[in-house]
Chain length 104, copies 2
DNA sequence: GCGTTGTTTCGATATTGTTGGAAATGTGAA
DNA sequence: TTCACATTTCCAACAATATCGAAACAACGC
C-alpha cells in the first residue's frame, strides 16, 4: 500500500457519516446491505449517501454489486486490513517487542 | 472509544504530512523524536509541523514531553490500537469467522 | 410502452482544513 | 542580562470537502 492510498482510505473514514456507513457494513459483513437500507438505517438523504459511498468505494473500503434495481455494498476487509498494516509498519524500527507486547 | 474520537483520530492521519509524521514516530517508537528532528527529516517548515503535531496530539496519537529547549514527540500506541479496535468492532455481527480467518 | 422505485449526477452554497511568513514565547548558555 | 536556539501562535490567502434539492438515469412490473 502506498502513502496516497492510505491517505485516501483514512480520509474516507474520517467523516462521521462515512464512518457510520463503514461500521454498519462491517457489522453486516460479509452479506452487505443495499444503498436504500443503509440510507434508511442512518437517516441519510440519497444524494448524500451516494456521495459518501462513492468515496468509500474509491478508497477500496467497500465493494459494489448491482442486484437488479438495487446496489449492494459490502465492507472490503482486505482494504481495511491493508490500511492497518500500513499504519503499524516497521513499528519500533522492526523490533516490535519494544512496544507493549500485549498491545501488538 | 466514541465515534467523535475515532473521526478525530482518522482525520489526524488522513493528511500526507501528518501521516508521514506519525509513521516516522512509529518507526522510532518508543524513543520518539524532537520536533526539530522531525521537521528536518520530513522537510517541513516549523509552523506547519507544529500545526500538524498539535492535531496528532489532540487526537491522542502522539504524546509530548518537554526536554529542556526541545519537545519530544512519541507515537501513542494505545491510541492507534483503540482506533483499530473501533474500526473492526462487531465484525460480521459478532461472528468474525464469517470473514476470512487469516485476515483477522 | 408507462409508471414506479432505487440510485446517481449536477449544481450551488456553506463550511472546514492547509500553508508558511512574521512575530511571540519559552528555555538554556555565556 | 543578553543572546541564541527551539517551538508555538497569529494571521490571511487559498484549496478542498459536505450537504441536499432538483433532475437524470436505470431496472423492474404491469
Amino acid at each position: 500500500m502506498k502513502t496516497n492510498d492510505a491517505v485516501t482510505a483514512l480520509a474516507a473514514l474520517a467523516q462521521e457519516s462515512r464512518l457510520a456507513v463503514f461500521r454498519l457494513l462491517v457489522r453486516n459483513a460479509p452479506d452487505g446491505l443495499t444503498a436504500g437500507v443503509i440510507g434508511e438505517q442512518l437517516a441519510l438523504p440519497a444524494p448524500t449517501l451516494s456521495f459518501h459511498l462513492k468515496a468509500l468505494a474509491l478508497a477500496g473500503l467497500v465493494t459494489t454489486a448491482q442486484e437488479g434495481r438495487y446496489v449492494r455494498y459490502r465492507a472490503e476487509m482486505a482494504g481495511i486490513n491493508a490500511l492497518i498494516g500500513f499504519l503499524t509498519d516497521d513499528c519500533c524500527g522492526g523490533r516490535p517487542g519494544l512496544c507493549s507486547p500485549k498491545d501488538w
